[in-house]
């Protein structure tokens, strides 16, 4: 069972694609970082909260046939890399699509879905997955 507190800390990123942006060079980080590895000392105190756009295009993908327990109901499914409208690469599961219909360049958007649950009695973990954009 995952730590409830650890999962809770990740809510801003998982629900709303909250990352960070370096106030010095403008680079966006997702998941968020409090320090820019490019500007290093220059970035101290300048890294700001940044909400990433939920829309983007498939940059690359891979179809998963041997799934972990949490995703076994959805196999086969694709894990996609998505270049969002901010130019940031995100990765996640792609759902509500025939895996044979996924193409590089396909417009997608991030939606909220169940990622996992701690058994029948534990916490349900929600987060973003990708679906074809309407």
């Amino acid at each position: 069972m995952a730590s409830v507190a650890k999962e809770w800390r990740e809510i801003p990123g998982r629900y709303n694609l909250r990352g960070t942006k370096c106030g010095s060079c403008g680079k966006v980080f997702f998941p968020s970082r409090s320090f820019c590895p490019v500007c290093r000392r220059e970035s101290i105190g300048k890294v700001e909260d940044y909400k990433l756009d939920r829309h983007g295009e498939v940059y690359s993908f891979s179809v998963v046939h041997e799934a972990p327990e949490s995703c076994s109901m959805l196999k086969p499914y694709a894990v996609v890399m998505v270049r969002n409208r901010d130019g940031v690469l995100l990765s996640g599961q792609m759902v509500d699509v025939d895996v044979d219909a996924i193409e590089i360049g396909m417009p997608v958007r991030a939606v909220l879905r169940k990622l996992d649950a701690d058994g029948l009695a534990g916490v349900i973990h929600y987060g973003f997955k990708f679906t074809p954009d309407l």
Binding site: I11, L74, D96, L112, R113, K114, L134
Partner: protein, 350 residues
């Protein structure tokens, strides 16, 4: 002060199953059953969808259409459903977090069978009208349950719609609301039970029809209106037959209910049913249109609303989110085996 709908959003899962596919498993004429109920297919949630994800998608579509509204100005979030994923732990906090309305706000989950969504609209009207909050969000959403082989299995589906209630930038003014409520045990689900039970034919005349007709007549009497004064009407739709019949009994035509009647193509979305019908009417409404709404929740009660579409709908950014036409296009049909897996009806090993 005028209070009304500032924005709305809708969502229905992509998967569908047809009644003939369900009937085939249980040795029943499914096609005939579908014809009798006036349900030709119903939506099915994906295994990773529930009321939280459906309500969130609807609420995000609602917020996308009003980029000028700061979610921090939302003072209340109510999610009405009879399939909240937790028995204890609110759906509404997750939805509120997903539209970034937290933390200076109140929230609660509502339950009143199929009318918890419209009860949320009334609660938000009160909070906005009294000046307690600037905006309130009311969502009606369900992933409804029907026991395998039961008549409900042909209708129970999934979907939801969200409404931003306020007094500024109103696209549809709520002129009046009236409710009719009694203790009528026509449909229920006890704590811990996976499937609801119902009173069969008792769900008709003393329950659905009595409450809808009473609330509708009360409202029209208070407003001094008659059915002909409205361009659109939407009634609770556990199947396609009941709302068509109740509309006729009240004096509304098939033309008036055509945009509000979605059940024949998506099934009964319970708390989502009237909210989705209203969303589809608003997708097609023009300034000056008058809308008559009456929900029904077993147990039992009906909330009726008289709504007038304002000129503000012309500048409303409806296309910032998919309209129901787009949401419902391109469905994926599944067989009963896949349906059983999606709905968690297969007993898995630990």
């Amino acid at each position: 002060m005028d209070v009304g709908i500032v924005s709305y959003g809708a969502y229905v899962p992509r998967y569908r199953i047809k009644p003939e596919e369900i009937g085939k498993i249980w040795g029943v004429d499914g096609k005939g059953m579908g014809k009798g109920l006036m349900i030709f297919e119903k939506s099915v949630p994906s295994p990773d969808e529930d009321v939280v994800t459906i309500a969130t998608e609807a609420a995000r579509n609602m917020m996308a259409r009003v980029p000028e509204v700061d979610p921090q100005d939302i003072g209340a979030v109510y999610v009405g459903s009879e399939s909240h994923p937790y028995a204890v732990k609110p759906t509404s906090t997750i939805v509120a977090e997903s539209i970034e309305a937290t933390p200076a706000m109140t929230a609660a989950d509502l339950e009143f069978a199929c009318k918890a969504g419209t009860a949320g609209i009334q609660a938000c009207m009160g909070l906005v009208g009294s000046g307690m909050v600037r905006y309130g969000v009311a969502v009606g959403a369900d992933t409804s349950q029907g026991a395998p082989g039961d008549a409900l299995e042909y209708s129970a589906s999934a979907g939801g719609a969200a409404f931003l209630i306020g007094s500024e930038g109103i696209i549809a003014r709520i002129d009046k609301t009236a409710s009719f409520t009694t203790d009528t045990p026509d449909f229920w689900r006890r704590e811990g039970q996976p499937y609801p039970l119902h009173g069969g034919r008792f769900t008709g005349e003393p329950a659905y029809f009595r409450h809808i007709i009473s609330a509708a007549k009360m409202l029209m009497k208070e407003m001094g209106t008659e059915p002909g004064d409205y361009q659109h009407a939407v009634f609770h739709q556990p199947n396609g037959k009941f709302p068509t019949r109740v509309a006729k009994q009240l004096g509304f035509s098939d033309e008036q209910i055509k945009f509000g009647l979605l059940t024949p193509n998506i099934g009964n979305t319970y708390s989502g049913a009237v909210p989705l019908g209203l969303a589809n009417i608003l997708d097609n409404a023009v300034p000056g249109d008058r809308i008559f709404v009456t929900s029904y929740g077993s147990g039992a009660g009906s909330d009726a609303f008289d709504i007038t579409v304002t000129d503000a709908i012309e500048d409303y950014k409806r296309d910032n989110a998919p309209t129901l036409d787009k949401v419902l296009a391109d469905p994926v049909y599944i067989d009963y085996g896949m349906y059983a897996k999606f709905m968690g009806k297969i007993l898995m090993s630990e």
